[in-house]
């Protein structure tokens, strides 16, 4: 069974040779190819080379597109800062207030260099790994995208105190998001991963998640031409999982390492795939034995759950994570063995 078959079989709920394993190694390819990060996050050839190295080194069952939301903000005019050891961040948002939104020129996914970087990286990855390893395109959902353009504080203030401004912005963001996501699917992405901050119970109340996040996601996801994984973005998501269940195109939920997997299964029902596993950003602070032990505990917890993928929660696995800790995840899945329907 290759990785593509393993993931599709997980989705279909059929017997597996072993669990699919999906550590988030978008960043880690730069370490394996000794590539400076500014080049890695602007040159699609360098990025695709890094992901080839990830596949060769770790044989993950999912490869990830650039996990670099700041570069999408940059396409709108936000100023980006590149680091030596992590994905880029936004140094200065493109606009400082919701009133400035109308001055923005929305970037064209077919022509803007910042967006073409993502598209070309996926095309190259698809060309090399098509049919063998699924490619996950990680994108900011429409409910979070404005934070990359005006900063999280200004967007939070808009969502909290300016319903009209929020709607005016979403009227433009949703079509942009749909066009970009569908372009990435057409370029070869197998599915879209959406880390959802403005639906997270640590960020917003249930009322905001229900009245703002869910309708916006519903509108956007109904227009997508491929499957979606909703991601917890680095904090427990269980308390709002019911509000995210049943959205169009959504086939899976990526959970925080603190979320109770059994409770999550009860909330989402029997058919959705759950992604769960150790905290990715913390992986380098653990020993190999600790990683393997934690993975085995998660696999044991999900022994009878056919729709489950072992992954690293949170953001990217950091560059200084020892390779043996990453190997430990797949080894845990291999030693755990096959999964019966």
């Amino acid at each position: 069974m290759n990785s593509m078959e393993r993931v599709l079989t997980t989705l279909a709920g059929k017997p597996l040779d072993r669990r699919a394993v999906a550590p988030v190694l978008s960043l880690y390819g730069a370490r394996l190819t000794n590539c400076p990060l500014e080049q890695y996050y602007t040159d699609p050839v360098a990025y695709a080379r890094g992901q080839s190295a990830v596949r060769e080194t770790f044989q993950p069952d999912v490869l990830f597109s650039p996990f670099a939301f700041a570069s999408i903000g940059a396409a709108f005019g936000s100023e980006v800062h590149f680091f030596a050891n992590q994905a880029p961040n936004i140094r200065r948002p493109a606009i400082q207030s919701a009133e400035d939104w109308d001055k923005l020129v929305l970037p064209d996914p077919d022509t803007h260099p910042r967006l073409l970087f993502f598209r070309e990286a996926i095309r190259r990855m698809a060309a090399e790994h098509q049919g063998q390893v699924p490619i996950a395109a990680v994108l900011p959902p429409p409910i979070d995208l404005p934070a990359l353009i005006m900063g999280i504080e200004t967007w939070l203030e808009t969502v909290l105190f300016d319903a009209g401004g929020t709607q005016r912005i979403m009227d433009q963001v949703v079509p942009f998001f749909v066009r970009l996501a569908n372009s990435l699917l057409a370029d070869g992405a197998t599915f879209i991963v959406l880390p959802c901050a403005f639906a997270s119970p640590t960020i917003v109340t249930r009322e905001i998640a229900a009245a703002f996040a869910r309708p916006a996601l519903e509108e956007a996801l109904a227009q997508l031409k491929g499957p979606v994984v909703l991601h917890h973005i680095g904090a427990p998501i269980l308390r709002h999982l019911d509000l995210l269940t049943g959205l169009p195109s959504t086939v899976a939920f990526a959970l925080d390492h603190q979320d109770n997997l059994s409770q999550a299964r009860r909330v989402v029902g029997p058919a959705a795939v759950l992604f769960g596993g150790p905290n990715g950003p913390n992986l380098g602070r653990m020993t190999r034995a600790q990683v393997e032990s934690e993975c085995r505990a998660v696999l044991e917890n999900r022994r009878h759950d056919i729709h489950f993928v072992l992954f690293t929660s949170g953001a990217d696995v950091p560059l200084d994570t020892p390779p043996e800790n990453i190997h430990a995840m797949r080894e845990a899945a291999e030693s755990f063995g096959g999964i019966d329907a």
């Binding site: 680091f83 050891n85 936004i90 909290l160 119970p201 109340t205 905001i208 913390n282 602070r285």
Partner: protein
């Protein structure tokens, strides 16, 4: 329902306008000079306790609390009266995001809540090198430096502030507080980067700074 509970209820609802109206009405009767000490500060303590112990309190609600607090600080400032009546300020503290970190929201909320507690806050902004933190603390006589970091990679840069404090012979005299989302999800990280303390959220910063300030004074007295 007392004024504090009414205020907390409005903050829960995200009702900034209602919270302002409530506080303005109270201040028109009792005066803005007592507002922080008698209403807002005790309410913020209750909200902080809820945030640190309850799973249902959100960043959005804490943000509303910070905005209402800032609204009141602005009104007090416009009236050129002391935030705490006749009480002197608690002292100067320095805050900022560590070098390489641009996530300002948490730091700004901490600054607002510290000001509401009577601290003179010197906010150095984002992407601040270690030496600048310590330079500023020495310049203004701050006993506490609060350093914010969102990501694991930038959190490790907090150690440089620790090293700078120690290199200048200021160990103990200047206390180092570290905060940010990553410190909450990675237990032991604050100690690992050499911080003297951390708080689980922005509202907990006021209590932490108070403890660290006292520790600094006590260490100086012992010396």
């Amino acid at each position: 329902m007392d004024i504090q509970q009414s205020l907390i209820e409005r903050i829960h609802l995200g009702d900034r306008v209602g919270a302002n109206a409530l506080l303005d009405a109270w201040a028109s009767e009792h005066g803005y000079e007592c507002l922080l000490a008698e209403v807002l500060d005790p309410a913020l303590i209750l909200i902080g306790e809820e945030w640190s112990s309850s799973e249902t309190f959100t960043l959005a609600q804490a943000y509303v609390a910070a905005k209402v607090t800032q609204d009141m600080l602005d009104k007090i400032s416009a009236r050129r009266i002391s935030s705490f009546g006749e009480l002197p300020p608690k002292g100067s503290v320095v805050i900022g995001n560590i070098e390489g970190d641009f996530h300002a929201l948490g730091r700004r909320m901490v600054g607002t809540f510290l000001r509401a507690e009577g601290w003179i806050v010197h906010d150095l902004g984002n992407d601040v090198p270690a030496a600048i933190f310590v330079d500023k603390a020495q310049e203004v006589g701050a006993r506490v430096i609060g350093v914010s970091a969102m990501m694991m990679t930038t959190a490790r840069n907090v150690r440089r502030v620790r090293e700078e404090i120690d290199r200048r012979g200021l160990t103990g005299k200047i206390q180092l507080a570290a905060g940010g989302a990553v410190f909450r999800v990675c237990p032991g990280l604050a100690e690992e980067v050499g911080a003297d303390g951390t708080a689980s959220d922005a509202l907990g910063a006021a209590g932490l700074f108070e403890r660290l300030w006292k520790r600094s004074v006590s260490k100086e007295s012992d010396a």
